[in-house]
């Protein structure tokens, strides 16, 4: 279940069934408007997860679910993770701000283990992503389709900048470097605080374009590296969340 923190609203609410092979779980999934308030602040202030602008920004706590096992694209992954829990991060608190030039998402989640680098052959890092439909009705669970692609901003603690990831369906993701995309994360007190930001408009094949005063959709994913999570083994919002950019 999800809680709405001060400043957040919950205009939509409906039930989703998260079915996993082996066990069928039923949970309600809330859909919340993510409002990106317009602020007068420099990019350098907004990219800092400890920056003062974030103290007063509305925060929405979203519950996350494991990606459905049935959508994992190999029999090996489906067989092994039938009995192993993944999608370990249960919720993420999301804030969004824009300064008319760029939009910034601040993601915060509890994570007792800081997996910030690959130091051994059996390790993976924590990671987070913000996902947008490039066409309005793009399917979320399959990461888009050939006609309706999606665009993700994928952050990892060991990488200088996030990747812009374009996808036209399961297993089709392509990573590109978008010079307009930035990320910054800090792990303190058993929690990650990560800001991922980009210019509202950024030229690139398959990149999402955003405009102040308009509405769109957004989704989130978090990987728990300490739980071997990578690729489709992750915790996600199972539905698109409506996104509104203040005019």
């Amino acid at each position: 279940m999800q809680a709405v923190e001060p400043g957040g609203v919950s205009p939509y609410r409906f039930l989703l069934v998260a079915a996993r092979l082996g066990s069928v779980r039923r949970r309600s999934q809330d859909v919340d408007m993510i409002k990106a308030q317009r602020v007068e602040a420099a990019d350098s202030a907004l990219i800092d997860p400890a920056g003062s602008e974030w103290r007063s920004a509305p925060s929405t706590r979203l519950s996350l679910e494991p990606t459905p096992l049935i959508s994992q694209p190999s029999a090996y992954v489906q067989a092994k993770w039938e009995t192993i829990d993944y999608g370990a991060i249960g919720n993420v608190s999301v804030q969004a701000l824009h300064n008319d030039g760029g939009i910034f998402f601040r993601l915060q989640w509890n994570d007792a283990t800081e997996n910030d680098d690959i130091r051994d052959t059996d390790q993976f890092t924590d990671a987070a992503a913000v996902l947008f439909p490039v066409k309005e009705d793009a399917p979320l669970t399959s990461m888009g389709s050939p006609d309706e692609p999606v665009n993700a901003w994928y952050w990892r603690p060991d990488m200088e900048t996030p990747f812009s990831v374009t996808s036209e369906g399961t297993s089709t993701t392509i990573r590109t470097i978008d010079p307009n995309l930035r990320g910054n994360g800090a792990h303190t007190g058993g929690a990650w605080a990560v800001v991922i930001g980009r210019a509202l408009q950024s030229a690139g094949d398959g990149y999402v374009q955003l405009t102040a005063g308009e509405e769109g959709k957004v989704a989130f994913a978090v990987w728990q590296g300490g739980n071997d999570e990578r690729a489709g083994l992750k915790a996600v919002t199972l539905e698109w969340q409506p996104l509104e950019l203040e005019a």
Binding site: P73, S74, A75, V77, A79, K80, I118, D120, T121, A231
Partner: protein
């Protein structure tokens, strides 16, 4: 291309190692290392290794790490950690060679001390003197007919080449997720730290395309390895695997149908208390060989013994002639082109040294 790789390709490249002839010299290991895994991130990688059996192998205890198939269902596997691989160590060369301490300091690994390596339990073997025994087992990617790695990859980055069944990885699609490594029951896939992709033996495909045998094959000074296409009836590989059925896959129960085969070792018979050979009492327990090569070991050993006996009594044996390998190049025809006669082209960022060997 054969996307999920779960069916036989038109042709299949294969290798046969004769464990009676392998002398553990590691020339194959080094031929591969110098050709393919000298770059940053590959320090600990040995796509071809020779280990002493019985032994724990490389990575340590790899046979207990899972993967492969049971009744066509993929089995969970795990990824070895660096200490289980070993190798790729830094040594105190500067201190020993350039600091004037050459008489007081010995060469040793710097930093975390190794607990295992690519050839850690060499020549230990098993059994009690005078019936102690060991033999060598060269291992590389098996380029399986049912490669668990190919199926496991969620990116579709891996495939089996239709023309020769070589299992390859499209590095532009690989993300280093290592599901392939988990699924491989032979643990012959390596993670490259520097480039964050997985890597494994490519069966020297750029050489094969020029009719040059893989470097491990050409490098073997013991005439212990054959190479060819499995269905080429003129190839010794076909004769040993298909016709005489004396070359067997390692751990067939893993369900991936390997295409590297082994002639099982026949050591002298056990010595009894009177110090006489006890014929019919093999020094390497047949049960142990069965645990490695499956139930076809017994008929294979019987065939080998029968043909050896036949030649001892003056008869002719195609099998023995093949195993003796009178003519070196016949061991890998038609891939017998001399690599030194080829002008190799290098692609930017490609590996050096393809001309050698």
């Amino acid at each position: 291309m054969n996307a999920k790789g779960n069916a036989a390709t038109q042709k299949q490249a294969a290798m046969v190692f004769d464990l009676n002839k392998c002398m553990g010299c590691q020339t194959c290991s080094v031929a591969c290392k110098t050709l393919w895994t000298r770059a940053e991130g590959q320090e600990y990688q040995w796509w071809c290794t020779v280990n002493t059996l019985p032994g724990r192998g490389h990575p340590r205890d790899w046979e207990s790490m899972g993967g492969g198939y049971a009744d066509d269902v993929p089995q969970a596997g795990r990824r070895p950690a660096r200490q289980e691989w070993g190798g790729g160590w830094d040594f105190n060369y500067d201190e020993v060679l350039h600091s004037g301490k050459g008489q007081s300091v010995h060469l040793q690994v710097v930093g975390e001390q190794p607990e295992w390596g690519p050839n850690w339990d060499e020549d230990q073997g098993a059994g009690e003197y005078p019936n102690s025994y060991f033999f060598y087992l060269p291992r590389l990617c098996n380029h399986c007919t049912k490669p668990a790695c190919v199926e496991a990859c969620p990116r579709g980055a891996m495939s089996k080449r239709e023309e020769d069944g070589i299992v390859l990885r499209d590095e532009s699609r690989c993300r280093g997720y290592q599901f392939c490594l988990e699924a491989c029951p032979y643990k012959k896939i390596y993670f490259n730290f520097a480039r964050e992709v997985s890597e494994h033996c490519i069966l020297c495909y750029p050489r094969l395309e020029q009719n040059v045998a893989p470097s491990c094959v050409r490098g073997c000074p013991g005439r212990a390895v054959w190479f060819g296409l499995l269905d080429d009836e003129t190839s010794p590989v076909h004769k040993l695997v298909k016709k005489w059925e004396v070359a067997l896959p390692l751990h067939p129960e893993y369900g991936t149908e390997p295409n590297v085969f082994y002639i099982p070792p026949i050591l002298p018979a056990r010595l009894n208390e009177a110090n006489d050979f006890e014929e019919g009492q093999p020094r390497v327990p047949t049960e142990y060989l069965e645990s490695l090569f499956g139930p076809r070991v017994r008929p294979a050993l019987e065939t080998l013994s029968r043909e050896m006996e036949s030649t001892r009594s003056g008869g002719k044996s195609e099998l023995m002639d093949t195993l003796i390998a009178y003519w070196w190049k016949d061991m890998f025809k038609p891939f017998d082109q001399d690599p030194g006669e080829i002008e190799w082209s290098r692609t930017p960022g490609g590996q050096p040294g393809q001309g050698a060997g």
